[in-house]
Symmetry: none
Subunit: 118 residues, 4 copies
Amino acid sequence: MEFNPTLPIYLQIMNHIKKEIVTGVLAPGERIDSVRTLSEKYGVNLNTMQRAFSELEREQVISTQRGIGSFVTQDTHIISTLKTEMSQTLINEFTRGMKSLGYNPNEIIDLLRKDLEE
Amino acid sequence: MEFNPTLPIYLQIMNHIKKEIVTGVLAPGERIDSVRTLSEKYGVNLNTMQRAFSELEREQVISTQRGIGSFVTQDTHIISTLKTEMSQTLINEFTRGMKSLGYNPNEIIDLLRKDLEE
Amino acid sequence: MEFNPTLPIYLQIMNHIKKEIVTGVLAPGERIDSVRTLSEKYGVNLNTMQRAFSELEREQVISTQRGIGSFVTQDTHIISTLKTEMSQTLINEFTRGMKSLGYNPNEIIDLLRKDLEE
Amino acid sequence: MEFNPTLPIYLQIMNHIKKEIVTGVLAPGERIDSVRTLSEKYGVNLNTMQRAFSELEREQVISTQRGIGSFVTQDTHIISTLKTEMSQTLINEFTRGMKSLGYNPNEIIDLLRKDLEE
DNA sequence: GTGGTCTAGACCACA
DNA sequence: GTGGTCTAGACCACA
């Protein structure tokens, strides 16, 4: 059995920023705090924050302009795709876990519905 | 922002054993491998495995008889409660995540249903 | 006027490795020296070499297996595309330079032909 | 492997001025801005600009008269030789690069011709 | 100020 | 052994 290692910090930061974009905390086109500012805010090394940013840029979620700063994408299609991807990941983790406990699809939906109706 | 630390290994082991009990891999009343055997099998320190066992015993999921061994509880009520607890944890994580993405209960159920119908 | 900065070392290393792949010095599927070995061979920091590798992997030119090593892609289509891209870059630099000196296409071709016939 | 260091700034400036002479932006015999003026325009140290000028003078591309200023050579033979030298440098870089990618002379000419015909 | 690159060195998971 | 992550800190180009 292999034990769960911690999700790398840069990935946790990426997820956090993505969530802020998907939920509108960070609006399309909005300027994001500088890597310096955020590295202090998150309490991580500058390089770690830069890695998060460069990966987010590679995924076209943000765009960076040297000497100016980084900005949330203005492409709402990318943002909606992001939301779908992130929800799909949650769904997959959930259904995989429930199935490994022995629940079938109908039971999973019933349990979820009961929980949400409370 | 705080980062997710790794879940302590003894808790990961506990969850793994609980899952085996809930899904019937380990039957009610069945003898469990010794702490020593399992610590080698999982590649963890003996103390770590002992901690997992003592916690499981405290939760009445297993019972240990000195000089004889450890056994899965025969109380099926405890086992079914265990299953409910574990599924509830998954449900909570899932709904919390989906809500933080901005989905409302109806949307969550719809997305899950579509996913499970595939 | 802006002055040419040095091409980042990790890009120079990427180009060097790409050239070895395109020319067959590194065969498809062949194992590449470890990042440690190469960082010593090239006299650069381990992190710089890792950056070169991770970018090459992102471009699917090499594939990396944790704990084992990195390998040249076996996809010959990727390799031939790589060759085309690299030659196109050289062609663009050349024609841009010649045109800025005042040569027209026919003159450029003539000069090149005379040079190559020597 | 040795890495490409940045071309010294005075050489970059020399090339830039040579290109302006070869392409006629600076006509034969035309007066060139003073070292002082140009060092500010290029944003470089006065000494750097002086070095560029003294090298250009050594190559007889410009001539300087104390107290009056610097002038582009009136010798069109020198200018045409300059053009040939600069194009030869581009040709050498290009053919060396293409050959190191594995192309033979005929292929190089074909690729260039196709590119220029577009 | 801003982001980009690089070094030096540590610790980790995996095989 | 192998690659992956992270920190601390330096220097750079660009605006």
